[in-house]
């Protein structure tokens, strides 16, 4: 694999995804409206229900909107990661995937290129949402926009890799709805995205607390939350990086023609 060739392919795949995304205005819109609804409606309703105490990384009492913003950034990456996997399944059914896989590059690199391309889309949506947050007067530190970038990048890669992994096992597009139910919603709700984990513990939902503490999505959100305040959450970094690696290696294994799951079924 020549480096120049590998980068040229990565660029082309990323550019193609971005172009497709930009052509679908409705997709950007829905990617923004979804977290916005949470921010405006949900946060407004819960502002007074949750008194968010001073917890790390915050140095003072904060508004609920400020608390929930990193969680909603995570939600954007989660939805986009899963949506990219839907696109993979679609490409596979339509034959586009076969074209991609006949490129003279290692398959893992082609998958990694897809992953990077999808993650770029996540980042575009995240920053669009941060602009919306600023317009709505959510008080996030400006420097946090910069510090959050590596956290969002890594988190986006992790969730995109999860999407890749799911695309190995989702056989048809029709199964996407159940993926939503069994992956997106549990991951989102059993995490620290909407409420601090101690709230769960306090309310006696001990098992939920434990599930949420090991949920990689929690750590992606916390990594972002801490990064926004110029702090590094080492535990979260380790969990997110570890999960991203495991998901990707597992997915690459699934796509491997020698061993993977795809081998077991015929494709016309």
């Amino acid at each position: 694999m020549r480096a120049g060739h590998a980068l040229e392919a990565l660029g082309a795949i990323s550019f193609r995804e971005l172009r497709k995304f930009m052509q679908q205005r409705s997709r950007l819109l829905s990617a923004l409206v979804r977290p916005l609804l949470w921010l405006v409606v949900f946060a407004a309703g819960f502002r007074n229900v949750f008194g968010v105490a001073v917890i790390e990384p915050y140095s003072s009492f904060i508004e609920y909107q400020v608390y929930v913003a990193p969680g909603l950034l995570g939600m954007i990456c989660l939805f986009n990661g899963i949506q990219s996997s839907l696109a993979m399944v679609y490409d596979r059914e339509m034959g586009m995937m076969r074209l991609l896989l006949t490129a003279p590059l290692p398959r893992a690199w082609l998958l990694a290129s897809k992953l990077v391309a999808g993650t770029l889309l996540s980042l575009v949506q995240c920053y669009a949402f941060l602009i919306v947050c600023a317009l709505f007067g959510v008080d996030l530190p400006w420097i946090g926009w910069l510090y959050a970038l590596p956290a969002l990048l890594l988190g986006g890669l992790m969730l995109g890799a999860l999407g890749l992994l799911l695309s190995v096992y989702i056989k048809q597009i029709e199964n996407f709805a159940s993926t939503m139910n069994f992956v997106i919603f549990p991951m989102f709700f059993m995490s620290s995205a909407l409420y601090p984990l101690w709230k769960l513990k306090e309310s006696g939902a001990e098992w939920l607390y434990w599930v949420a503490s090991v949920n990689p999505f929690t750590h992606m959100v916390e990594l972002t939350r801490f990064a926004m305040y110029e702090q590094l959450n080492i535990t979260s970094l380790a969990v997110v990086a570890g999960s991203a690696t495991v998901f990707f290696v597992w997915a690459a294994y699934g796509y491997d023609p020698q061993r993977g799951m795809l081998k077991k079924r015929a494709q016309a």
Partner: protein, 264 residues
């Protein structure tokens, strides 16, 4: 893999005893095939004969359970990227990005193959060669089925492959487009020494090939020139020969459908 014949070029494609099963279904049961440089080989077989499976192996999508494949003398199974650089594929299913222009599709392919500036410079002449001069900037969605196939052919040739795989590429095309496509590919064989494997279930397409390979139920029935195959079966035409060879054996109801390839 070294060939004992030292003074000959390596064969463009060599498949030896390829076996592929999906679960209990034996899609290919020991298929061997050789294509020489510049040779046009028609792969003829009824639906479900294993043509698609063979193409999936040759395009690197899957690997055979047993057997060997080499492309231009290079072991394809151990070094798939070397082989893939020498193969151009036109898939049965359309694989153009319909929202992209003709040139846009070509450039995407050029990047996937790492062709750089030299590759991009070949796009316009190639499109002209397949008869699409003036359509470079058209969005693929606006093209007819025949012209979309021509774009896919030009795209498959962009990285200057030694072997062109046409996987039932004429399915769904009108007779005129079929004829044009066949003439184009035959010209490439003759003038540029391109080797071609052209899968079809249409006998009249196979008649135009240098050699015919009849695949049935995952096995080779016969391989030879169209005339040779016809003569060997004792029939007057290749069509009769093909029908005679692939007739369902008595006692197998509905055979000749798609029993081998997909377990439904």
């Amino acid at each position: 893999m070294t060939s004992p014949a030292a003074n000959t070029l390596p064969q463009t494609l060599e498949v030896r005893d390829a076996v592929k099963s999906y679960g209990d279904v034996k899609a290919l049961q020991g298929v061997s095939m050789t294509i020489a440089p510049g040779q046009f080989m028609a792969l003829l077989g009824p639906n479900g004969a294993g043509k698609s499976t063979l193409f999936q192996l040759l395009s690197g999508l899957f690997v055979p359970d047993a057997g060997a494949i080499s492309i231009c003398g290079e072991d394809f199974l151990n070094k798939p990227t070397v082989g893939l650089a020498k193969i151009g594929v036109v898939f049965q299913q359309p694989t153009l990005d319909l929202d992209l222009s003709v040139t846009g599709n070509m450039r995407f392919h050029a990047s996937l193959h790492g062709l750089g500036r030299a590759g991009r410079a070949r796009i316009a002449p190639l499109l002209a060669q397949v008869g699409l001069a003036g359509s470079e900037d058209k969005i693929c969605r606006t093209l007819s089925g025949g012209n979309r196939r021509k774009v896919e052919l030009a795209r498959a040739l962009l990285h200057q492959p030694a072997l062109l795989l046409m996987d039932e590429a004429t399915v769904g095309l009108d007779p005129q487009s079929r004829t044009t496509l066949m003439a184009l590919v035959k010209g490439l064989c003759r003038d540029q020494g391109l080797s071609v494997l052209w899968a079809t279930h249409l006998v009249n397409e196979a008649e135009q090939a240098d050699r015919v390979y009849v695949l049935h139920r995952g096995k080779q029935l016969i391989e030879g020139t169209p005339e040779g195959v016809t003569a060997a079966s004792g029939c007057a035409t290749l069509e009769e020969a093909f029908l005679k060879m692939t007739v369902p054996p008595p006692g197998v109801p509905g055979a000749g459908g798609k029993p081998t390839e997909k377990s439904a």
